[in-house]
């Protein structure tokens, strides 16, 4: 661990009132929500950094991986993992990390998981701790997918990797001790977008539907202008400016943002979609997006478990070492997966 990271972690052990003092003096209250003091402290420190949209994509990509590494917890004991590759579209091979819990429930479907990062930044390290938590608590194997990123690989390359990984999971779940021919899917942020898209796209491609879609602070509607994009437009770690920059990198020219492969909330056929767990973060331009999609799915008769973590910020699954409330939320979410599996 770098000296910088060590100092950051030591500072985060200070009492909450000290952190608030060091980060401006007053608690941050926006839209009736109060930001977790640890996130306030981190946001204060990050405020002096240049916005991601001012960086070259390669610089942003390298910086994001390094920047996030200091906040993630260690993986859970009792879960092992291996890094390998699986066949992707065409000749591409997709790097993946496969987690297996020491105590596995043979009835629990294998989960394919896609990490956050706007389709532009980060890799499977971003969700390493969280995937181990799901694997342990939901007692299932998890395959975490290192899909291709933009701008080097624009839409739909990353999505197609994730669809190929879903297909692989259906075909290989049995080899990992999970029910054959079935799979659950999940992801956070852009990964939540992929999950919502693939839950629909499975039917458009005539593939089996996933058993469960886990959508964490997802982007599901790039057309509608939600109030939260303004209220929480300047929050850390995701600002509306950064989101727009992600989309510039991710999408081909003249792309219609109402395309349901980008904005699954624009799909009119929502009946019959798999059960959904949707969790949002209060301090997030996307908080209204996830809530709106939860309502749409419920209106279409889909079984939805919804929770907003009001005091947390976007990306909280990667902050479990530095924000105890983020860790508690992740444990609770993994428990929702376990409960959803029990109800299958």
């Amino acid at each position: 661990m770098s000296l910088q990271a060590t100092i950051a972690k030591l500072l985060l052990k200070l009492p909450a009132s000290w952190k608030v003092k060091m980060a401006g003096g007053d608690p941050v209250i926006l839209g009736g929500r109060t930001l977790d003091p640890n996130f306030q402290f981190l946001a204060h420190g990050a405020a002096s950094q240049p916005p991601m949209s001012s960086l070259e994509p390669e610089v942003a990509q390298a910086g994001a991986i390094e920047g996030l590494a200091m906040f993630a917890a260690k993986p859970e004991p009792g879960v092992s993992w291996e890094d390998t590759t699986i066949p992707g579209p065409g000749t591409h091979h997709i790097p993946v990390r496969i987690y297996r819990p020491a105590e596995q429930n043979p009835m629990a479907p294998m989960l394919a998981y896609w990490h956050m990062g706007g389709g532009v930044i980060l890799d499977i390290e971003a969700c390493h701790a969280f995937c181990s938590m799901i694997s342990k608590i939901a007692q299932c194997p998890v395959v975490s997918v290192d899909y291709r990123l933009a701008p080097q690989h624009k839409f739909p390359a990353g999505l197609e990797d994730c669809i190929a990984a879903y297909d692989w999971t259906l075909k290989n779940a049995e080899a990992y001790g999970a029910p054959a021919g079935r799979a659950a899917i999940g992801g956070d942020s852009m990964g939540g977008n992929f999950s919502a898209v693939i839950a629909q796209e499975a039917t458009r491609r005539g593939m089996p539907k996933p058993d469960l879609q886990l959508l964490l602070y997802p982007a599901t509607d790039l057309v509608t202008e939600f109030e939260s994009a303004t209220t929480y437009g300047e929050t850390y770690p995701l600002s509306t400016d950064t989101m727009q920059w992600f989309m510039q990198q991710y999408l081909p020219e003249e792309f219609d943002r109402a395309n349901v492969l980008l904005s699954p909330a624009q799909e009119t056929r929502l009946e019959g979609l798999p059960p959904a767990i949707i969790a949002t973060a209060g301090f997030d331009p996307l908080v209204d997006d996830g809530a709106a999609y939860a309502k749409k799915l419920e209106a279409a008769g889909v079984n939805v478990t919804f929770k907003c973590y009001d005091n947390l910020a976007h990306g909280f699954t990667a902050f479990t070492a530095v924000a105890p409330a983020a860790r508690e939320a992740c444990i609770e979410i993994a428990g929702m997966v376990r409960d959803a599996y029990a109800a299958l």
């Binding site: 739909p156 796209e201 499975a202 458009r204 005539g206 395309n259 624009q266 009119t268 056929r269």
Partner: protein, 324 residues
């Protein structure tokens, strides 16, 4: 270049083979496409037998649903550039390394579709659209019965029917293939081995189906007359069964239904404005990610005749692709 050439009309495709022919030069309004994928449609088979509405004098190259990149521009073509990824419909010429296509009939390939998918789209979805929207006037909440559902035009009708908000009942002769139709979105599937009339009635509270999409004909048409709703529309798409059915005209009168013939391509030639609207609508759907054709498999050009036979013998679910 290599091209599939029909040099003599024949029932068993003995008059069709891959030959070396000159690369064609585009005329005014045409572009030359370096073909990446061409899908097989039932009319391709009929064309080689001399049994399609369109009669071509051999030698000719069949293949009407093409996707590839633009390789040369004919005079007066300014809406495309060399290298553009395009797809769309011609009436023939697609089973070759290069094909000439009228620029009017081309679309930019949607970025979310593969070449295989793009080549599977035009004919099947235009047929489904003209059938269900223009001729069948299918409305949300109505029940659509799709016969031969696992075929290329059948799968497209299932997809478009669901998109239009209908309840879709799909029929076919194989449980294995029907499982794929169900996964593709059909609300109900019926294996026609024991007939379908009673099951359709059961699924519609005795009313019958509002719109019936029938590319099969023969016995399937006859039984459809027995399970169509009052004010229903029985769409005649084709006769893959090989028998053209007859209906006594007292039946449409007593049961209050219509028998409606569908010619998707001819519709656009008769009504050019509506034809353009049809084409625009199906590609708008594709570009919005809402529709995706079902691709069964991909074969090399040399196996096109095998592909024709697979289609003939109903071994294909959705579309079969030829790559040169």
């Amino acid at each position: 270049m290599r091209a599939l050439v029909c040099h003599a009309l024949s029932d068993d495709f003995s008059g069709v083979e891959v030959r070396e022919v000159p690369v064609p030069e585009p005329g005014p309004g045409q572009v030359r496409i370096k073909v990446r994928a061409t899908s097989i449609n039932f009319p391709d088979l009929l064309l080689c037998r001399g049994k399609y509405q369109l009669k071509l004098e051999p030698p000719f190259t069949p293949g009407m649903d093409i996707a590839g990149t633009i390789d040369a521009l004919g005079e007066g073509v300014d809406q495309f550039d060399l290298g553009d990824e395009v797809c769309g419909g011609a009436r023939f010429g697609g089973f070759a390394e290069y094909a000439l296509v009228s620029a009017d009939g081309l679309q930019k390939k949607p970025s979310s579709m593969s070449f295989d998918e793009a080549a599977s789209y035009s004919a099947a979805y235009l047929t489904a659209y003209v059938s269900l929207v223009r001729r069948g006037r299918l409305e949300a909440g109505e029940t659509l019965l799709v016969h031969g559902a696992s075929g290329g035009v059948g799968m497209a009708a299932v997809d478009v029917g669901k998109l239009l908000g209908a309840t879709v009942i799909a029929t076919g002769g194989s449980d294995e293939k029907l499982a794929k139709v169900k996964a593709y979105g059909a609300d109900h599937v019926i294996n026609t081995a024991d007939g379908f009339r009673t099951k359709v009635k059961d699924l519609t509270n005795g009313r019958g189906a509002d719109v019936i999409y029938d590319p099969v004909g023969g016995d399937v048409f006859d039984e459809s007359v027995r399970c169509i709703a009052f004010d229903g529309r029985l769409l005649v798409i084709g006769f893959t069964s090989g028998r053209i059915a007859n209906v006594a005209t007292n039946m449409p009168l007593i049961k209050g239904f219509s028998v409606v013939g569908v010619r998707a391509g001819e519709y656009g030639r008769q009504f050019p404005d509506r034809g353009r609207e049809n084409v625009k609508q199906i590609w708008d759907w594709a570009r919005a990610g809402k529709t995706r054709p079902y691709v069964h498999a991909t074969l090399p050009l040399e196996q096109t005749i095998d592909g024709f036979r697979q289609l003939q013998n109903r071994q294909v679910v959705g579309k079969l692709i030829i790559t040169p």
